[in-house]
């Protein structure tokens, strides 16, 4: 990939695209991968709250897991999850398991 030349770069070293760090997929850093066991998840929001990467996605809707209805679903964005394991460590029901990356 060729990088932009002097006159193709905004002056002053400014970055004009907010949140452009999303182009940097940090998921590749991971050696352990968190897996959410949806049936054990009590929807407490703690993993979402503590994730340093903001990779725990909260979706509002109607979700049925093993016959139980839930209003929320939690999923991990593996594009960015660095595998620190805070979510698993803080989970009150041990619904998140850290497994080695394949």
């Amino acid at each position: 990939m060729s990088l932009p030349k002097v006159h193709e770069i905004p002056i002053g070293g400014i970055i004009t695209e907010p949140g452009s760090s999303r182009r940097n997929l940090t998921g590749g850093w991971r050696s352990l991968k968190p897996i959410i066991h949806d049936d054990r998840c009590i929807r407490c929001r703690i993993c979402w709250m503590y994730c340093p990467e903001g990779t725990i996605k909260e979706t509002k809707g109607e979700f049925v897991v093993k016959g139980r209805k839930y209003q929320y679903k939690y999923e991990i964005d593996y594009n960015y999850c660095k595998g620190c394991g805070i979510c698993a460590h803080e989970c009150p029901t041990k619904a998140i398991e850290m497994v080695p990356e394949a």
Partner: protein
Amino acid sequence: MKVVYKAIWDLPVEELFASGHRACAGCGPAIAMRWITKTAGPNTVVVNATGCMEVTTTQYPETAWMVPYLHVAFENAAAAASGVDSAIRVTSKKGLWRSGKTNVIVIAGDGGTYDIGLQSLSGMLERGHHVLYILYDNEAYMNTGIQRSGGTPRYAWTTTTPVGRAIRGKIQAKKDIMGIVMAHRVPYAATASISNIIDMSNKIKTALEYTEEGPTFLHIMAPCPPGWRFPEERTVEAARLAVETGYFPLYEYDHGKIRLNPPTSNMVADPKRRKPLREFLKFQGRFAHLTDAEIGELEKEVVANLEYLAKLASL
């Protein structure tokens, strides 16, 4: 404290600190950044001192920030923020600032606050700028590879306070930065921890509201797994134990009145509710060399500090 968020479900959803930043896995300060930006909202200018949160979030041409962001240098974030505040105020009057009420928040680490940035912080506080200064404290110069700062606790190992045969870790105690800030008689200053997000977010909201009157300050405990030498999944636990052992008391200075917050207030009322300091120290490599006698000394300091704060709170 104004309680804006009563429970976890009241917390704001919108993310203004994007994924893809390059902070270490399990970074305590990164958790703080998420909640500072979420709580403050988009009408906020962040002025960041040089440090971990600056280099890991703004590697050109990418930025994790979704609010206007300025980094000038290490020691002058408070001065640069003074300029931003002043500019917004005067250009608003002249009709040149069209973004309405805008928060100005400094984000600086312990090196940028306790040490090299102390003068500009003091100047900003004394001049009464409408700036919220947030110190994220990971207790050493982590960005340059774990060197001692004025915020490093006594006996801690760092690369510039190694555990040698003659001297074992840092000799001096951690500086009372809250005491220094309170001496400026600001409207509001508080401590917070990344383990207690609801408390922290309410304090951010409270501070921003008081910033209309003048400068406010938040001291946020934000552990660093590589710097403190503990496994990265234990960052939040480390912060929680810092609070629960009394090592890092949670309290507010609100218009001259000090108020202890739970759980610190509980352990002052009933010392049995304070966990032994050893629980905070034992899993951190930076304290691995401590003897029982040294732990005992640190514990005495913790108790003395709680008693000191309790006395201040009773005034």
